[in-house]
Amino acid sequence: MNASGHPQLDEDFELYALGALDGEERQTFELHLRQCSECRQRLAEAQGRVSVLGRSTDIQPAPPGLKLRLMEQLESARLAEASPAFRVQPSPSGRSFTLLRWDVFLLAGALLILVIIGTTMVERLRNHNRDLESQVSTLQASLQREKEVANTARALFHVWFSSDSIKVTLVPGSQHPAPEGKAFYEPMSGGLVFYTVNLPTLPHNQTYQLWLVPNLGNPISAGIFNTDRQGNGGVLLPRLPSGVKAKAFAVTVEPAGGKTQPTGPKVLVGAVS
């Protein structure tokens, strides 16, 4: 600094703008700056020069969600400031007693408004809370039902398809058990479950193939399967087009891998009643 206390060189201002000045040097500068409009002007110019360093940085786009968060924050701030109760100004010292009482009166009014607004908001929040609790309760009940259905299905599948399950066909008297199949079909979704009992095991180069016979058109393959030593087998949820009306189901014996249309002998046939 020169005799009048002004920093002399442009770099002095730039160094301050950078924040490079240490302790006492910096305090001296700031003390002078508060009193000297000419130096504040020079500092403004120095800041402009120094800020060019920031502009030389490689540009990176701001993250996409940031703008939305900022606008939400603004909206919250706007709502908080919407109430006049939040705009109470501190009383400057030296005011007359009358003005002070007037301020107190204004403050009391503002507080009253705040209480009214607060009460209304609390009531609204309570109502909103009750609605949310009700929705949560409904969802929890629905989830519980879904869990029960899923548990039942899991248990059913386990019993039905486990290799440890013993499958027994009951027939009248001493009659020999005959091959039999059951198909459960839901046309709208195309869902199909099929199981069979007492079908003899085929050699490796052959397979059973289940067919859906529609009201119109050629049979549609509903999957291939083989049977275990007890003659049990089946098809679970094969890929079928939805909305196909079935007039019958049939099982044929086909070469291993199956065929696009039935070629072998029919071993089971069932018409849709």
Binding site: G19, R34, G48, R49, L53, G54, S56, P61
Partner: protein
């Protein structure tokens, strides 16, 4: 190579109109201002902090400050773009160094708006090219000292400690680098 930050001078008149609308509570105007400057400011904050989350917070703070103080904006006192850049950099440095106020004391920050001497977009392009060339031509020690001061907010003494150079050498390097920068700005 990524493009450098460009704040076009012809947008300064538009800035004033936007600030008037923001002062009147127009959120769409702030959104427009955000679109105009967010990338430039984010780039500086990210360069200083090297942390995405922290840089985002700085950017939010700066725009909230614009929202709250838009009515006090006086274009006679300097450019908005310069003020945004300085404020963002200073806040990022504060955050980096975990301190409550940086370089400029708060009272001075109220009074000082950085001035831009840019008249046309072409002039700005030309000037930035000169600045980059000048910074590139600095001796490594000078450039490092300048970058430590600007992007890390280090003082002379701290730069000397960090670089292991004598304090006098650091002061000379910084002054020389600043003289080079000034020449590039005013050839």
């Amino acid at each position: 190579m990524a493009p450098s930050i460009q704040i076009k001078p012809e947008e300064q008149g538009a800035d004033l109109r936007l600030m008037q609308r923001i002062a009147a509570g127009d959120q769409a105007a702030l959104a427009t201002l955000y679109d105009r400057y967010s990338s430039a400011l984010y780039s500086v904050a990210k360069r200083v902090l090297t942390d995405t989350g922290a840089a985002e917070e700085i950017l939010q703070d700066v725009f909230l400050q614009v929202w709250r103080n838009a009515s006090r904006f006086d274009p006679q006192r300097g450019s908005l773009s310069g003020w945004l850049l300085v404020t963002t950099r200073n806040r990022a440095i504060d955050r980096l160094r975990r301190r409550s106020s940086q370089g400029l004391d708060p009272a001075a920050e109220e009074l000082v708006m950085p001035r831009a001497s840019l008249e046309t977009s072409a002039a700005q392009d030309e000037m930035m090219a000169r600045v980059k060339a000048a910074l590139g031509a600095l001796a490594p020690g000078q450039r490092e000292a300048l970058e430590m001061a600007y992007f890390e907010g280090l003082t002379h003494t701290e730069i000397a400690e960090r670089s292991g150079e004598p304090l006098g050498t650091v002061k000379t390097r910084l002054r020389t680098a600043l003289q080079v920068l000034k020449k590039a700005l005013n050839p």
